[in-house]
Assembly symmetry: C2
Homo-oligomer: 233 residues x 2
């Protein structure tokens, strides 16, 4: 389905007052959102390669001039998608943390944590980000461009992850090394689920059980890791 059909499907039948005098910020926000949505949709439906500039304009219903104005170019769209995805992810984790009553049991905290994380990794936007980063990051180091964009998103995402982690599970003391290992394992599994969904074209059939299995694994690793048990390396 084309994004352009979402908001103005019947606009052809109502030619009177087609544009009800929208304000600039409204226009700006809507076209930006349409471009981003169209790009994400296209990447998920036909893949990164085939998501061309023409395809984006076709799906979004806007012209290339709009893209140029708002994002500068195609790279601008892709960068914005990755950035938004990451920001919403941090916000979502923080929100899940806030909405949790004080002194919730460890398994329950793990549950909400994994669920909130999957809210991110399971989204179409993350899948798009994944393809974008994959297509971009590998080639970036070849060009020897050390920084330029979001100064190594990897460190950023790891930092945010660790921050939330420590706030959610303050009593844990597994040692820095083991903590990072379990974090990386969790990300691997969740991102792996997302990437397999990309390859299969449909969500994993046993998704819920797999998330439960991950929770169980985390719970097991956390058990017996109360304050003071960790050994730093």
């Amino acid at each position: 389905m084309l994004v352009s059909e979402m908001a103005e499907t019947h606009s052809l039948r109502l030619p009177e007052r087609r544009r009800p005098r929208r304000t600039q910020v409204e226009r700006r926000a809507e076209t930006r959102a349409r471009i981003l949505a169209a790009t994400i949709e296209s990447i998920n439906e036909i893949g990164y390669q085939r998501t061309t500039s023409a395809e984006i304009t076709r799906r979004s219903g806007v012209t290339w001039g709009a893209v140029q104005h708002h994002f500068g170019g195609k790279d601008g769209i892709l960068g914005a998608i990755v950035e938004d995805s990451f920001n919403d992810f941090s916000a979502g984790l923080a929100e899940a943390f806030e909405s949790l009553p004080r002194k919730t049991s460890l398994p329950r905290r793990i549950g909400t944590f994994v669920d909130a994380a999957w809210e991110h990794f399971g989204s179409a936007r993350y899948r798009a980000s994944f393809e974008i980063l994959l297509a971009d990051s590998v080639s970036r180091e070849a060009r020897a461009e050390p920084e330029r964009n979001d100064l190594s998103w990897q460190n950023e995402i790891l930092k945010a992850w660790t921050r939330i982690w420590h706030r959610l599970f303050p009593e844990l003391d597994l040692g820095r090394r083991r903590t990072l290992m379990i974090q990386h394992y969790t990300i691997s599994t969740l991102s792996g689920l997302a990437s397999l969904q990309l390859l299969a074209g449909k969500p994993p059939p046993f998704l819920r059980d797999e998330l439960e299995l991950l929770k169980k694994t985390l719970a097991r690793e956390f058990r017996g890791a109360g304050s003071g048990n960790g050994k730093e390396d």
Copy 2:
């Protein structure tokens, strides 16, 4: 490093008898291997996008005519990589199974299984296959080409996986649904590790520990799943 430098680094200094009268099968095998190796290397180093036909000929040291002759075109190379990767994977698992003495303990069997599986998922060839499939499979369903190539590699890989699985762990009876779930979970984690390695550009720092954690998880799930315990859905 260029693949073309591997075998004929000093050939410029020994112009006499440059080509010691190789047989056809030798020539064929070598150039094919060089092309495949160059493509895999390129995908891992500079990414799928930048792995152009020119880049492949540059790294392999052969011309486009050779590629055309052996693979028909670029798609031929990519397809061969995926196919070879999958075949070697099945062979590797089977071999690991054969080399295992009768009545090995369950944890040890799990260990060799995970290690053998990572031998596959951790290889540069798999990472290349992953990018190829990602770039190709998503766009294929958009073009509505139901079969054509290896008739849904997904089913094939799942079948082979299940086949080995049942030979390695014949006493398990978790029920079909739960078995498939755990398989998918294992693939997700391993493939996730591989994809994160692609994004990071370097192998995961805690790889060994993460594999151990996966083994532990599997062992725990298998425990108490002797013959007759499974419940079919």
